[in-house]
């Protein structure tokens, strides 16, 4: 009977088996990655649920302009709900006002109003939004602009919530 070298006691896995074990371990680790990704997704879903439950609190109501401040076809910037949230108030028609968040939903550049096309335009990457409802018309943005709900109180325009 041939004598077994002592190193075989310490390293019993052959070269081929070593590869085999490594691949098996790698496959196991892939399943762990899969589980971690699933858990991350669950956490996001739970955060979203909590956000929708707790985030339903009312935003402040702020007077942003009077009906005489803005000629038809013009736009002006205001901040809502906080000072760091620029929004754009647009007077589309004599009696029609709309307001949207001014940050482009692509990469956050400020959008501006083009009265000729009744569009909101992002100059950074040529994004176009419909000024009537904020939906994307063209360009890289994939989401519509967040809409600010307005309320007219006599001669005053108030922002009362934001999508």
């Amino acid at each position: 009977m041939p004598e077994v070298p002592i190193w075989k006691d310490h390293f019993p896995i052959s070269w081929v088996d070593d590869h085999f074990v490594t691949r098996r371990e790698f496959t196991k680790s892939l399943v762990w990655v899969s589980l971690a990704t699933f858990l991350a997704n669950v956490v996001l879903a739970m955060l979203g649920r909590l956000k929708s439950l707790w985030g339903a609190e009312a935003l402040p109501q702020v007077q942003i302009a009077t009906v005489h401040d803005l000629p038809v076809g013009e736009a002006r910037v205001f901040h809502y709900p906080a000072a760091g949230d620029p929004c754009l108030l647009v007077r589309l028609d004599v009696d029609r006002y709309v307001a949207f968040g001014q940050k482009c939903t692509h990469l956050g550049c400020p959008v501006s109003y083009r009265a000729a096309d009744k569009q909101l335009y992002c100059p950074c990457h040529q994004g176009f939004f419909d000024a009537a409802d904020g939906r994307v018309l063209a360009g890289p943005p994939s989401r519509p602009l967040p809409r600010v709900t307005l309320e007219r109180r006599g001669e005053e325009l108030w922002a009362i919530s934001k999508a």
Binding site: S34, V42, A163
Partner: protein
């Protein structure tokens, strides 16, 4: 046929068995890699929705991701269950 069987020495049999095991592991690895890739895509979509104020998108992506995870575990059993190795 009998001649072929006589050529199947224990060493060759072991080698063939090893090749079979390697094929199985590679197949499972590729399938798992595809599943994990899909899960990453789903996570990206969920994160995009969450940051964009459409948090309700995270629930269906979590469900599909869970199914992918279950499929990954099911595939792993092909390697880990001793009778199949």
């Amino acid at each position: 046929m009998g001649h072929q069987q006589s050529l199947m020495t224990p060493e060759r049999q072991l080698r063939a068995q090893r090749a079979q095991q390697m094929s199985l592991i590679y197949t499972v690895m590729v399938c798992l890699a595809i599943l994990v890739f899909v899960q990453f895509l789903l996570l990206t979509v969920a994160l995009e929705g969450y940051l964009g104020g459409r948090a309700e998108m995270a629930l269906p992506t979590a469900v599909v991701s869970g199914l992918c995870c279950a499929a990954a575990y099911w595939l792993l059993r092909y390697i880990l269950v001793p009778g199949r190795r």
